[in-house]
């Protein structure tokens, strides 16, 4: 066996099960997760206007789902996903423009995103869904 292909025992990268993700990594994966959720949410939105165009009965069926426990959960999740993806997306646009790359700045903008999306989500739940 040559030197080049002898097995080397280097430390492996941290496993997700035991590695505590840094706050920045959590926000990063949450951006993708809420993006996927909103893609499904956009289809839901399309179904909403199609039901409204169809007939009062079709719309009543759709509204019946919206007021159910599962429907409330979906709408609440939609609102959170929208506010988080919106504010974190603005953060991404700043990065795309070349600002805020320092670690300190990335953490600060990250906490701003957490605060803004938490407040906006809570407000929308209280006013719109009357959850709390």
């Amino acid at each position: 066996m040559s030197v080049a292909n002898r097995p080397v025992h280097r430390p492996l990268s941290p496993h997700l099960q035991v590695y505590r993700l840094p706050m920045l990594a959590i926000l990063s994966i949450l951006h993708r997760a809420t993006g996927i959720a909103l893609a499904v949410g956009a289809l839901y939105l399309a179904v909403w206007v199609m039901c409204a165009a169809a007939s009062p009965r079709t719309y009543a069926t759709f509204q019946g789902f919206n007021v159910s426990i599962l429907g409330r959960f979906v709408l609440a999740g939609w609102l959170f996903s929208a506010f988080f993806h919106l504010s974190n997306g603005i953060r991404h646009l700043f990065w795309d423009a070349g600002y805020g790359f320092e670690l300190k700045d990335a953490y600060r903008s990250g906490w701003i995103v957490v605060a803004v999306s938490a407040v906006a989500t809570a407000l929308s739940w209280i006013v719109g869904l009357r959850l709390i």
Partner: protein, 126 residues
């Protein structure tokens, strides 16, 4: 600089003919457009909660709302399929990747056009 490649080889190494960045810039452009649209829509949705069928139809059918709603759903679905394409590219490969990307784009077009027809039907009657 020690570069023994021909001018053509060097030009080829510089990248493609200005097309590769299109996906990236389209994603950013739709993102910027969606900032005011999503804020408007989220506020409207909260205001509309508890509204009954005639109220919702009258809202969807008013001219300004029709324009804003078509923009929100159209640009939103376009942005969504651009993003989902990247997700498929990251986690799948080969035939699965191709099939899922095509499926995603077709689904976005189908629901987008369906929603636009529905909005126009409510607003213009039919």
């Amino acid at each position: 600089m020690d570069d023994r490649r021909t001018p053509l080889a060097r030009a080829r190494g510089l990248g493609s003919a200005k097309e590769g960045v299109h996906h990236w810039s389209a994603q950013r452009l739709t993102a910027i457009a969606l900032i005011p649209l999503v804020v408007w829509f989220a506020v409207s949705l909260v205001m509309l909660s508890g509204a009954d069928y005639p109220v919702v139809r009258a809202w969807i059918g008013s001219p300004l709302v029709m324009v804003m709603l078509i923009l929100t759903i159209g640009i939103g679905l376009h942005h969504a399929q651009l993003g989902l394409q990247v997700v498929w590219e990251d986690y799948t490969a080969g035939a699965v990747r191709l099939v899922m990307i095509v499926f995603t784009k077709f689904l976005a077009a189908l629901f987008g056009l369906g929603a636009i027809v529905a909005i126009l039907r409510i607003g213009l009657g039919g």
